[in-house]
């Protein structure tokens, strides 16, 4: 008990050193918590951005189409008649579905052109699946049969387009023959999904089907459920229903798409980065403890001369180091909690902060990025800081305590 008291007295006596080492640990803990929260938040937001504007919770497509989906082929499409025979609404959690005909196109304003992804859609269906209705910054959605398009505001800005302007979409139809869709810009949207903002042009489904010579077919049907957790069950139910109608149709869950897999891969990468942060923090702690031992060599010599045993000196070292770990960890956790609270409540607008388009660095969402509470991260990093402080002091403690008292007192 005496040694424990002495250890804490030592901490108070060397308060500058205690605070300096404590702050290093606190910084590592704070940075870990902040990074973890930000990454978890960004991951969650990117899932939502993909589900809300691209994939929905389930997608129905021919398996041969799905394999080549990246190329947006006009083969292996689904005849809409087939889908009308399937009662999608009976699936658990069903909220809405949207038939889509996706195609490659070049958007032309008469002066320049850009490659885009065209999406032939039924407006009411699209709005029931994707929360686009409040994302219009200008204009409104078209109706079926109208030669009108809706696109991202950012894409429109790139081609200097406004509501009412006319554009030409140059497409290749099912027979690879060039065709054009002449249309008026009827609406501009801005979402958190950069793909929608930069590359997508929505076209009335019937106009797209006519221009692409695909008859009454669509590329896929996107289904929205009440919650994403319902996807596995709803997918199984839907597959049962579809099996009776068309054997080549399959149901793909939101987490089957490449973008989500990529996000998960990125999340795994983040774990590695977090591991590196912890490693650096660990090395900093070890380094500081060794330096502290060297600095206190004469004091150790005196303690030994006064009769303290090696075991007691090591105990003293370990207690002091663990105390610093506890202090730094606590400061880091408190600061981290404040930061996470701010990020969850207000988010961070990185683009405004650095005056750069974050999507060009692969950040999959635009606008403010919000943090996420992750209690596990708090516990993990706090325990890590204390454990490293505890363990890293044992060896230097032994090394210092094993010295001859006379040599230790004369140590410079």
């Amino acid at each position: 008990m005496f040694l424990t008291k002495l250890a804490f007295k030592n901490l108070a006596r060397h308060r500058t050193r205690t605070l300096a080492v404590g702050l290093i640990i606190a910084f590592a803990v704070f940075f870990y918590i902040m990074y973890d929260s930000l990454m978890a938040g960004m991951n969650e937001m990117s899932y939502e951005a993909i589900i809300d504007y691209e994939t929905g919770h389930l997608q129905i497509a021919a398996s041969a189409y799905w394999e080549e989906e990246e190329k947006l082929p006009l083969d292996h499409l689904i005849p809409l008649d087939l889908l009308r025979m399937t009662s999608l609404a009976e699936v658990q959690g069903y909220q809405g579905s949207s038939a889509e005909l996706s195609f490659q196109a070049r958007l032309n304003n008469g002066i320049n052109e850009l490659p885009v992804v065209g999406r032939g859609v039924v407006p009411e269906e699209l709005m029931s699946v994707f929360p686009l209705s409040d994302k219009f910054v200008e204009g409104k959605m078209f109706a079926l049969g109208e030669h009108k398009v809706v696109m991202g505001k950012r894409l429109a800005d790139l081609l200097d387009l406004d509501i009412g302007d006319f554009v030409t979409l140059l497409v290749r139809d099912k027979h690879s023959t060039f065709n054009t869709i002449e249309a008026e810009v009827s609406g501009l949207v801005h979402t958190i999904n950069p793909n929608v903002n930069n590359f997508v042009v929505y076209v009335p489904l019937d106009i797209a089907q006519e221009a692409l010579a695909v008859g009454d077919a669509v590329s896929k049907v996107v289904v929205r459920l009440e919650r994403k957790e319902q996807a596995p069950l709803a997918s199984a139910q839907l597959e049962d229903k579809l099996r009776a109608v068309a054997a080549d149709l399959a149901v793909y869950k939101w987490d089957d798409v490449d973008a989500i897999s990529f996000s998960r891969y990125a999340a795994a990468e983040n774990r590695i980065i977090l591991g590196i942060i912890l490693l650096i923090a660990g090395i900093a702690i070890i380094n500081t403890v060794i330096l502290a031992a060297l600095e206190r060599m004469r004091e150790i010599g005196t303690m030994k001369a006064m009769g303290l045993e090696v075991r007691e000196i090591v105990y003293l070292f370990v207690m002091e180091s663990t105390g610093i770990g506890l202090l730094g960890g606590l400061i880091g956790v408190v600061l981290g909690a404040l930061e996470v609270w701010y990020m969850v409540r207000h988010g961070i607008d990185f683009a405004a902060l650095v005056q750069l388009d974050m999507t060009s660095f692969g950040v999959p969402v635009v606008g403010r990025i919000y943090g996420k509470w992750n209690p596990n991260a708090f516990i993990t990093v706090f325990a890590f800081a204390v454990a490293v402080s505890f363990l890293s002091s044992i060896l230097p403690g032994y090394w210092a305590a094993a010295k001859d008292p006379i040599q230790a007192i004369q140590h410079r």
Binding site: N112, R172, T177
Partner: protein
């Protein structure tokens, strides 16, 4: 005697002149009786080559900006290799092997297959799309041609032909209207249309030269009619017909 001779000669001359007049009267009727397919085939036999090596200059004009690229091209009926020689693009190569198009970037030392929607892009920023250079030579297999009239173009009489894509044939342009020189059987202008009827591209021949027994267009301008103020001039600086090209020229190994 002289008078008799003169009379005989007069008759003989009159006979020759009469025949000539008849031939002259019949000749245009004979040529205009050519079918659209025959005209296209005459043009094809003139313009398409067994093998050729050419030095070509391409000038891309966008508003007031002019970018000049030079290249050497090796071609046979199925394949073509284009090697850019201007300093900025030196070493960039395109290889057309049958239905495939490959590109090699020397800086990245990377080989890229151009397919799908990439084929719709302008080649090296020009008004010629990759699709344009991939077009099959046998237009009569893909289009049904009709002779729709005769017109003067830059002082030369031309057949005007309209080609419409045959059902179930994969063609880039649904409709094409060609102006073919009536005497030299060289295409002087070609308009390329989308299925919607929209005019997409216009190619105009601005200079034709004779090489032994064939006339060949050596200068042409391509305009992308979906974009304003852009055009691409193509000038053949020199060309060697029926050149010997080693078969390995058109291999992917040679592209690297």
């Amino acid at each position: 005697m002289l008078l008799v001779l003169n009379k005989k000669m007069h008759k003989w001359l009159a006979g020759i002149l009469g025949c000539l007049c008849l031939v002259l009267l019949l000749l245009p009727q004979h040529t205009s009786a050519m079918t659209a397919e025959e005209i296209i085939q005459r043009r094809d036999s003139n313009e398409y080559v067994q093998t050729a090596i050419a030095d070509v200059e391409m000038v891309i004009i966008n508003n007031n900006r002019r970018i000049t690229k030079t290249m050497t091209s090796y071609a046979d009926r199925e394949n073509a290799l284009v090697i850019f020689t201007n300093p900025r693009d030196r070493g960039t190569k395109f290889l057309k092997r049958g239905e495939e198009l490959w590109m090699f970037f020397p800086d990245a030392e990377d080989l890229v297959k151009i397919s799908g929607h990439m084929l719709n892009q302008g080649m090296m920023g020009s008004d010629f799309s990759y699709q344009d250079i991939m077009e099959s030579d046998k237009l009569t297999d893909l289009y049904e041609f009709k002779l729709i009239g005769e017109e003067e173009m830059d002082g030369r009489m031309c057949y005007v032909l309209e080609g419409t894509a045959l059902p179930d044939k994969e063609v880039a342009y649904y409709r094409r209207i060609s102006w073919v020189d009536k005497e030299r059987f060289v295409g002087l202008r070609e308009e390329l249309y989308a299925r919607s009827g929209r005019l997409l591209k216009v190619m105009t021949t601005t200079k034709v030269e004779q090489f032994e027994d064939r006339w060949y267009p050596v200068e042409a301008v391509m305009e992308d009619r979906l974009r304003k103020n852009t055009s691409t001039e193509l000038v053949i600086k020199s060309i060697e017909f029926n050149a010997t090209i080693p078969p390995e020229t058109f291999t992917l190994e040679n592209l690297r």
